[in-house]
C-alpha cells in the first residue's frame, strides 16, 4: 500500500467509529456523522486531496487523489450531504470567483457549514438547458431577476444557489446570453416550494420562484454572458470522478446476492452481466484518467454516465427480483430501486447521452 493510502487509512481510523465497517448500513443514515466527517476531512486535507492546504486538500497529485477517492468509495465513507456544494460549486468558485467571493464562500461550502443549490433546470428547460428564460435585468449595481427554477435539489436547506439567468436575450446563440449569479436564498422575492418525492431517499427537490429579486452585481460569478462556460467547467471536476462512486454502488447493490448459494443459472448470468458493467465502469474511468494524464481527450469518457446509470438501475432491479417475495419485506431495497430510476434522468438523461455519443463521438449529424 502506498504511503498516501496508509495515511488515509490512519485518518479513517481516527475519524470513523470503531464499528463503522461492520455497521455501514446503519451509519449510512447518520446525518450527524456525515456532517462531522466532512469537517474532519476538510481540516485534515482529505476532502479534495489534490487542492491546496487550507482548502480541504494537501496538494496531492491527481493520481494519488484518485487513489484516495477509490479507497474512500470502497470503504463506503460517509457521503457528503450537500454533494453539489463540494463537487460543483466549490470548483466553480475556485475557478471563476473573485478574491472577495472566494474569501467569503469557499471555506463554508467545503466544510458543509453553508449548503448550495444549483439553479439550472426550468419548467420549460430541462434537457434543453440553453433555452432557459429566467431573466436578469441590470439596474445600477444590482440585477433584478424574474422567473423560476425547478428540480432544484436541497434548495430549502441551502443558503446559496448558483443561478443561471438570461442576461442577453438578443445573443446570436442562446448559450451566449446566459450568466451565473450567486443568489442568497434568503433574499426578498425568493419563494422555495418543495416538491413531494417518489421515494424518501431521494434528496428533496424544489421549485424556486423569483419575483423581482435584487442580486448585487458583485455576485456575478465569472464573466457577464459567460455562464455556459461557468456551468460546464464547474461540472468538470465531478464529471471526471463520479464513476468511482458509480462503480462501487453497482458492485455493492449485488453484493448480498454473492452470499446466496441458491441462485439459478439465469440469475447467475444476470449477476455476471452486472459485474461486467461495474468493472467496465471502473476500467473505462481509469482509461479516461490515464488518457487525460498523457494529454489526450478520451472519447470513451462519454460512455460513463450512460453505462453507469443504466447499470445501477439493472443492479437494483436484480437486487429486488433475485430475492423474490422476501425482497418486498426489506424497505431499503425498494428505496434503492426507486432512487436508481433517477440516475438515468438527472445530470443528462440517457437519451441525451446517446445523442452526445452519436454526435460528438461518432460524428453523426445533428437532428435539430
Amino acid at each position: 500500500m502506498s504511503d498516501v493510502l496508509a495515511a488515509y487509512d490512519r485518518f479513517l481510523g481516527e475519524a470513523l467509529p470503531e464499528d463503522y465497517a461492520a455497521r455501514v448500513d446503519h451509519y449510512r443514515h447518520d446525518d450527524h456523522l456525515r456532517t462531522e466527517f466532512q469537517v474532519a476531512s476538510f481540516e485534515a486535507g482529505w476532502l479534495v486531496p489534490d487542492w491546496e492546504p487550507g482548502l480541504g486538500g494537501q496538494g496531492l497529485s491527481s493520481g494519488d487523489a484518485l487513489a484516495v477517492r477509490v479507497e474512500g468509495a470502497r470503504r463506503r465513507v460517509p457521503k457528503i450531504h450537500n454533494v453539489q456544494g463540494v463537487g460543483v460549486v466549490a470548483p466553480g468558485l475556485r475557478r471563476f470567483g473573485t478574491p472577495a467571493q472566494q474569501d467569503r464562500l469557499l471555506r463554508p461550502v467545503l466544510r458543509g457549514d453553508e449548503w448550495w443549490a444549483l439553479g439550472m433546470s426550468e419548467p420549460g428547460s430541462g434537457s434543453d438547458l440553453a433555452s432557459l428564460r429566467t431573466q436578469a435585468r441590470r439596474e445600477g449595481d444590482v440585477f433584478v431577476v424574474n422567473g423560476s427554477k425547478i428540480w432544484t435539489t436541497q434548495a430549502r436547506e441551502s443558503r446559496w444557489a448558483t443561478l443561471y439567468v438570461r442576461t442577453d436575450p438578443d445573443a446570436a446563440r442562446p448559450h451566449a446570453g446566459i450568466s451565473c449569479l450567486i443568489l442568497d436564498l434568503r433574499s426578498p422575492g425568493v419563494d422555495v416550494r418543495p416538491i413531494p418525492r417518489a421515494a424518501q431517499s431521494v434528496d428533496a427537490f424544489c421549485e424556486v420562484f423569483l419575483d423581482d429579486v435584487r442580486i448585487p452585481a458583485d455576485n456575478l460569478l465569472g464573466p457577464l454572458n459567460g455562464g455556459w462556460r461557468v456551468a460546464s467547467e464547474s461540472l468538470e471536476h465531478e464529471r471526471d470522478m463520479i464513476w468511482v462512486n458509480n462503480w462501487v454502488e453497482i458492485a455493492q447493490a449485488v453484493e448480498p446476492a454473492l452470499r446466496r448459494p441458491d441462485l439459478g443459472d439465469d440469475a447467475l448470468t444476470e449477476l455476471g452481466r452486472i459485474l461486467a458493467d461495474a468493472e467496465a465502469v471502473r476500467f473505462t474511468g481509469l482509461r479516461t484518467v490515464f488518457g487525460r494524464l498523457s494529454g489526450r481527450d478520451p472519447d470513451e469518457f462519454f460512455i460513463l454516465k450512460l453505462l453507469g446509470s443504466e447499470a445501477a438501475q439493472r443492479a437494483t432491479r436484480f437486487a429486488m427480483e433475485s430475492t423474490g417475495v422476501d425482497g418486498l419485506l426489506d424497505a431499503q431495497l425498494m428505496e434503492d430501486r426507486v432512487e436508481s430510476l433517477g440516475a438515468t434522468i438527472y445530470g443528462g438523461t440517457s437519451e441525451v447521452q446517446r445523442n452526445i455519443i452519436g454526435e460528438r463521438v461518432l460524428g453523426l449529424p445533428r437532428d435539430r
Binding site: M1, E18, A67, L258, T269, I357, L364
Partner: protein, 360 residues
Amino acid sequence: MSAVSTTTASRVHTDPSRWRDLVDSDERAEFAASVRAHLGARFGPDAARACFDAAQPAEAWREIAAADYPVIGLPEAMGGAGSIVDAVAMVEAAGPALVPLPLVSTVTAWQTVAHAGRPSEGRAYEVSSERRAALAVVDGTDELVVLDGALADEVVLVDVRGAAVRVSVADVSDAVTAVHRHVDPGRPTAVLDRTRLSETVLADGRTDVDAVLAPARTVLAADLTGVGATALDRAVRHALEREQFGKRIGAFQGIKHRLADVYVAVERARSLTRAAAVALASDGTSDLSAAELALLAKAAATDAAVDSTRAYVQVLGAMGMTFEADAHLYFRRAQQTAPFLGSAADCYRAAALVRREDHR
C-alpha cells in the same frame, strides 16, 4: 471514535496506478497502427470473400511470420518479446483485416502455454513464428472442435477432466477429420481426432480451469472487440452517407441511439479486455483475479461483436443482405468466434461463480 481495523484496507489493493497499462504508450499505439495498416492492406474483406471460392491463402503465412506477430507478447524464453498486453493490442488491431489465416488461434495457443506454468524439468516450450497453432479444450469425447484448426501445425490441448488441468502440445499431422467452412471460411472450424495425437505434457500443476483459460479468453476478447469496433466504424460511415426522407440517416435518433449503444458495448468490451491483459501481465497483484476479468472480457466482447455486426447489417438495409456488401463477412467472423471458450451467458455465469468464491 477509535481505530478501525487496518487489515481491511491492506487486504485489497485498490491503488489505481497499477492499471496504468490500460492506456497504450505512444510506442504501443504506433505498433498497433502499423499492424492495422499492414494487415489491412494485405488482407481485408476481399481476401475474406475469396475464401468462399478458394482455400485459405496458406502461403501468405510467410508474411505474418516475417513480422513476428505470432510470438509478440510471449516471454523471451519462448522466443518472444513484450507482454500479453502487446499481443492484445496486436490482435485487436488485426480486426478490420479479417485475416483469413490462423493468427488469432496461434496467439491463443501460445499465450495459454506461456501462462500455464513451467513443466517439471523447467524448460520453456520454444515456439517459432513459422509454426501455426490452435487451441483445443478437452472436456468430453476425443472429438475436438477447434477454432481455425484447418491449417494448424500444432495443437495445444487443455484437458479439464481431472483434478489438475493438464496442458499439452501435439503435432496435428493427420488428426483433422473434418473442416467446417460454412460460418466463416476465412476462419473455419476443424474437428480433430484426439486418438491420433501424440501429446507432450507441458504443465499440470494448476487446478483452476478459468485461470488456465484466461489468456486465451483475453485474446479472443481482443479479436471480438476489434471486429465489433470495425463494424461500428463502417456502420457509422454508411449512416453519414446514405440519405432518406431528405436527410442523412445518421441524423435519425433510431439509428443514432442504436449506434451509440453499440459504441458503449464496444468500449465496455475494450476496457474489460485491456484490464484482463494487464491483470495477466502483472501476475496476480491486482484486486480482481485475471480468471474473472477474462471471463467478463470474453462475455462482453462476444456481446459487442455480435451486436455491432448485426447493427452493421441492419444499418445497410437490404444491401446488408448481399454477398457483395462486407457486413456479412464481419457478422460471420463474430458468430464463428463467439461460442469458443464459453458463450457470453456461460462466461457471465462463470464469472459470477468466481466472484462468489472469492467473496467467501
